[in-house]
Amino acid sequence: MQLPPALHARLAGAPGSAEPLPVERDPAARTAPFRFAPRPVRFPREHDFFEEGDVQRHLYLQDVLTQVGGAPERPRVPEFTCQVAGCCQVFDALEDYEHHYHTLHRNVCSFCKRAFPSGHLLDTHILEWHDSLFQILAERQDMYQCLVEGCTEKFRTSRDRKEHLVMRHLYPADFRFDKPRKSRGPVMPGAAEQVLAEAPGDDGVPSEVDAMEVCSEHVEPPPAPAGERRAYSHREMNSCPSAALAQLPRIWPERYHLPSVLVRVPHEDLKGPRREISTSNGGSSAALWRCCRAFPPRRRGPRTLARAALHVAGL
């Protein structure tokens, strides 16, 4: 099929077209027995006309068609260690490191060290576990947001939400990223221990490796004989620095006065990225903890506070 040489130049040229020739139809054209009439044609999904193209498409999917381009090599790099404080994982491939980082360090709650698969779940967690204003508002209105992206339903309790997740969205009843808080009031890492303790650890039953509940500061568990497997999680928690806070009594007020509470938090940059809470000094940590109850550090801006304030204002 020889194409006129000017055609390629035309393609590369400017948009536009020649003036159309005049149309002049004779009514005799469409008289019987002749019946041609020009018409655009439309083919529906399952029409046989599409058979060839569909077959080619599926051959491609099944990789029978030869592919071009060499497969780029996975670059191996000299071994390096994860730079996050307390993590001693070693890598020799960037993709592995990327996955490790995103899984364990990217969406981490600075309160309780839980890691989440996404920013959305982390935000929800911080709101529901670490924001006492949320608790107060939740007494009066539906605050528990459905976890499924795109679903705007809200619920009175986390149990109601779980039921909605199971009934409406067909989620498993033991969905790991929807662990309910056990204690009333803001969560301490001690409460986290309670949740851990619930995980089935019976040797006879295959125990579930706890998701995201384990303190992310210890990625490599210290070697221990198989019999101590159940105690593994607990040991990690005990060695986690913030576990020191488990010793503190609950000291925050029952009623929370938002406008009148103004606590100076010297080392926290509230607008900046999330920081670890320093807990080396037991005495000041109590005050610091109280500060954090007032202004829980967030991964993103003070959106939650603003939202809460609006709720309080009745908007």
Binding site: H8, G16, F36, R39, P221
Partner: protein
């Protein structure tokens, strides 16, 4: 541009002839499946570079006891490396159908795997996901449906950040989606459409290609026009898809192929094509067509026809929409570069994949049917002769070529004048020798138009033994009346 995980044909163990034979068999099987409307294909993501790097076990057959051992080690092993190695061994084993069956029958096996998938150990997570992926690729429904408990997690992970992991989850989801309506009945309420809509904003090409694959599987489902496409159209997915199809330096072929097919499934379902037109689908696809024509001239790239096919289909179907008339003022629908591009693609298809020629000619029909502008372009760009060259390819192609010629001729004398003289008459006489009734019928229609609008055509026809050519069809029921009418006109004016 092709993902590293694409499986490659291995020419080492079999000859070219055997490959061709295998391919023919696959094609035949696919054709049969399509006729039965059971066209289902899955993608398998296996990192061959990774597998070569792994030492030790070539996939052996493992029994129940070994599988249980691997699971135990993976779950409760004390050394991280040990746990990983156990899962890797499991994954290698799960490449075999027998092991898959054994695995799913073991009590608690899936539960353990899901537990590992959601664990805090990144590499275990990845390996568990690979195991699931192998299972999702199985041809046995029982094996695939055993993966269902993992879907809520796979969807949750789509809003994470680790591109390799997300890619794997997407291909796994794509395989699961296509398995059965039962699977989709679970995935839809779990929020797969919003999850994909959020994920499509990823900057990673591998993720986008995987997403396109998963979405195309979802849109290809039988119940898609009623149950899936409306919510897809209601999401931000169409806008993002069109963005990813914009021609330019950022256009990635693998990604574009997937989303072009997604668009095709949406459009040919005729749910709400007007919406797509308002979002600029015609404009984008028109520009993409131009870009494709440019690309086929530049490179010998295998694979451009994989993109050409859905683009041609989308454009053809969209042009039949009433809304298309409304945006007819837009440049793309008057721009004769579209016709130039189409012919360049037709030439390409003729060389590369002649079976796709009808799709290109279908677009040409829809462009020229009601458009004096495009008919004029065909004439002014000298494209009639190349068109005639296609007449001998196949009956379907001939039929379409003749239809396009009729589209031009029926617009009147000014057009027929430009069709004459030239090779048209002798080509027509050749087609009259065809045995296919439809093709002959269409030739007769064209002849009638020429006789009507072009003085001298009938005369020339007679002189070139046209009457004899007509005679052989005198007895054919479908053609009789027209043959007689033409004989009359030719003889008596």
């Amino acid at each position: 541009m092709w993902s590293r995980q694409r499986g490659r044909l291995k020419p080492l163990c079999c000859g070219v002839e055997e490959l061709r034979c295998r391919r023919r068999e696959r094609e035949a099987a696919l054709r049969k499946a399509r006729r039965e409307q059971q066209l289902v294909s899955k993608r398998l993501l296996r990192d061959e570079a990774l597998e070569e790097a792994e030492e030790g076990c070539v996939a052996m057959i493992f029994g129940e006891a070994e599988i249980q051992q691997f699971l135990r080690l993976a779950q409760r092993g004390t050394e991280e490396k040990e746990r990983e190695r156990a899962l890797v061994s499991l994954r290698r084993g799960l490449q075999r159908p027998e092991m898959q069956q054994t695995f799913i029958r073991l009590e608690g096996s899936i539960r353990t795997l899901v537990g590992l998938l959601t664990s805090n150990q990144a590499l275990l997570q990845l390996e568990a996901a690979r195991c699931l992926h192998e299972l999702s690729h199985s041809e046995q429904s029982a094996v695939v449906e055993a993966c269902l408990p993992a879907t809520s997690y796979l969807l949750t992970y789509l809003s994470g950040h680790s591109s390799d992991f997300i890619e794997l989850c997407l291909y796994t989801l794509g395989n699961l989606i296509v398995e059965s309506e039962a699977v989709r009945r679970q995935l839809l309420p779990q929020g797969i459409v919003p999850a994909l809509a959020a994920c499509i904003q990823s900057p990673h090409l591998t993720v986008l290609e995987a997403l396109g694959y998963a979405l195309s599987q979802l849109l290809q489902a039988k119940e898609a026009p009623e149950k899936i496409i409306p919510s897809v159209l209601g999401s931000t997915l169409p806008q993002h898809m069109l963005q990813l199809l914009q021609p330019g330096p950022k256009l990635n072929l693998g990604v574009a192929v997937e989303f072009a097919w997604c668009l095709h499934y949406i459009i040919c379902s005729q749910v709400n094509n007007a919406l797509l037109i308002t979002q600029g689908a015609l404009s984008t696809l028109g520009l993409l067509l131009l870009d494709l024509a440019g690309a086929v001239q530049r490179t010998e790239d295998a694979g451009l026809e994989l993109l050409a096919c859905p683009v041609l289909r989308c454009l053809s179907n969209l042009l039949t929409e009433a809304a298309a008339e409304a945006v007819g003022g837009q440049l793309q629908l008057r721009d004769e570069r579209v016709v130039a591009a189409l012919f360049i693609l037709l030439q390409f298809l003729l060389q590369k994949q002649p079976s796709l020629l009808p799709e290109g000619l279908w677009l040409l029909n829809n462009l020229t049917a009601n458009s004096p502008s495009f008919c004029t372009s065909l004439l002014s760009l000298d494209l009639i002769e190349p068109l005639l060259h296609l007449l001998s390819v196949s009956n379907v192609v001939s039929m379409l070529v003749l239809t396009v010629l009729c589209n031009v001729a029926e617009k009147g004398p000014a057009y027929c004048q430009r069709l004459w003289p030239g090779p048209l008459l002798s080509s027509l006489l050749d087609t009259l020798a065809f045995s296919d009734t439809e093709v002959v019928g269409q030739s007769l229609e064209l002849l009638q138009l020429l006789f009507l609008y072009q003085p001298g055509a009938a005369q020339a026809f007679l002189q070139q033994s046209g009457l004899q050519a007509l005679q052989r069809h005198e007895e054919v029921a479908q053609l009789q009346d027209r043959v007689h009418a033409l004989q009359q006109t030719a003889l008596h004016g």
